[in-house]
Symmetry: C2
């Protein structure tokens, strides 16, 4: 089985690069048929629309390399045409502000994933850095229903434990954790408990494995073998069919961006998030995954870790494609 065809595309379900023609070319060089890109960390509705405008300019200028993805079939089209389908998502619900009608409007504009909270408490749910997690709020319950209705995926990558479990329970459609790793492999605050991962996958939800060094055992020194062995153990625990990649690649970003991601406009003090005063910037990527050309090596690593060709193809993108097919349209 050849990976990177319309039948078995490669999908990375989270990146936040400092986008450029070089990176769009690397997406193709790495055989990436679809990528979910973050268009909002703390942006309001209007500010996130500015980011859509920027993407539209890139789609117009680089139409040989990228186009906006809205459905699973757009991934197949991208693979067939040798381009990359770009799907929009938010890491925070700030673009819907306090307005439930913005869920449908954002779906029309192409948003397909929305985290219910980033690191802090949101109007909808709790983030993983809060001391207390009361679960999904009154507004959050209504927004989950609305996201289910229109076909926008609930993403709990940065959310706290109880909020995540409640989102899985309240949502009538499977949800996603687009970019995180198991806490049993590397006990970072952002990585997910075995309980969450069992409930997530049992309910048809997807986990995208992260390649962000703070989520990796050994950090920047994490080996490809170690990463793929972790995936093998996850497959033993949760099955292969709900696993994929969400690299969290933040390529070519200046350190000012990670400061923005962590501090937004909410903090007068410096919040270091997963970093520290001594290590405040973006950590170095592992040498086997510095950019999008690293995807074939991951596929090879999965094969070496014991996955057969079909399983490897599923993890590299087939599972996300099935999830995209069933998640992005109106509720049945």
């Amino acid at each position: 089985m050849t990976i990177g065809t319309a039948a078995t595309p490669v999908i990375d379900c989270l990146q936040y690069a400092n986008w450029s023609e070089k990176i769009f070319e690397q997406l193709r060089a790495g055989g990436v048929d679809a990528v979910h890109v973050t268009i909002a960390y703390h942006e309001t509705f209007r500010e996130a629309v500015i980011n859509v405008g920027q993407w539209n300019a890139w789609f117009e200028r680089h139409r040989d390399l990228i186009f906006q993805g809205r459905t699973g079939d757009d991934v197949r089209r991208a693979a067939a045409e040798g381009r990359t389908a770009v799907f929009f998502g938010f890491q925070n619900p700030s673009p819907i502000e306090d307005d439930i009608s913005l869920v449908e409007i954002w779906h029309t504009l192409g948003a397909r994933f929305m985290q219910l909270s980033y690191n802090n408490q949101s109007l909808l749910a709790t983030g993983c850095y809060e001391a207390e997690d009361p679960g999904i709020t009154r507004f959050g319950r209504q927004v989950i229903g609305e996201m289910n209705r229109v076909g926008m995926v609930i993403d709990m990558s940065h959310s706290a434990e109880r909020s995540t479990l409640e989102a899985i329970e309240i949502s009538q459609r499977p949800i996603a954790i687009t970019h995180a790793n198991p806490h049993w492999w590397h006990p970072a605050l952002r990585n997910k408990s075995d309980t969450v991962l069992r409930e997530l996958t049992r309910s048809g939800g997807m986990l995208g494995f992260s390649l962000y060094p703070h989520h990796l055992k050994g950090g920047s020194a994490c080996t490809l073998d170690g990463f793929c062995s972790m995936i093998a153990e996850a497959a033993n625990r949760y099955g292969v069919e709900n696993l994929g990649i969400g690299s969290d690649l933040c390529q070519d970003q200046p350190d000012s961006i990670v400061t923005w991601m962590r501090n937004g406009r909410w903090s007068k003090q410096m919040d270091y998030g997963e970093g520290s005063a001594d290590s405040a910037g973006f950590p170095d990527q592992p040498d086997w995954f510095r950019d999008n050309t690293g995807f074939p090596a991951i596929a090879a690593g999965l094969a070496k870790a014991g996955f057969d060709a079909s399983e490897t193809a599923a993890i590299m993108g087939g599972n996300w494609l099935r999830f995209y097919d069933t998640s992005f349209g109106p509720q049945a």
Copy 2:
């Protein structure tokens, strides 16, 4: 002692009327020297600025009756000049959005009170209609510090119990519950527990007694004697010096406004708040307090309930004036 002089002004620390020349005249007819008016329920920064613009137009047109208040001395000036000083406040922190720098900007624009949450979970604290109350959030702790610094009063009128107790504890300056009554008198969800009222007043914070029927024992049929007897009992429990009036008068508002207050943009279903499907609109005011001309009757009622002239003057405005004097400037 004559109430309604520069030495003993009358202050109502919460109204949300459908403002008109008639109501501005009634403020003077009722001897109201200062009023805290709500300029935001769910408004964003920009939307709340529109409401400031509307007030500026009223200040220009009705300068014989009203002007913008910014300090305690503006209350004395209003009483001396026979006008009413109008102080701005928010019932929800939506006008600061997710941006801590907007606290100081709003103080410059004249905002003197901000509720950390309305009925729902906010980015800062929990509202009284949420099932769970995790207390003050990470952003909330920073905002409390910033409000303390610039001189904006933390108002927890619609907040949940734990969030309120934590706000009292975290704030380095006394806070306010501008409009609510004791739960022991009328067990409405919006009324406050004895624990909250003890901690509030013990720390120098102020309680404004509400005349909104859903907060009154007997509702619209509540008697003036009953209301003033409750204040007498509150004075026994908490002392006279931290009690005032915050009528929550919503005069001349159409019922569409209470629907906006309760539902904002967050709900696709109808939320009835303190009302019900059978009683969805604004309740009728008690016949002894239909508009601002009812304040002298309250002063008389307090005297009848046993307060001496000095105590009555304190409750009718003197206590709020002391609080305004010490709360609206930069932190010492």
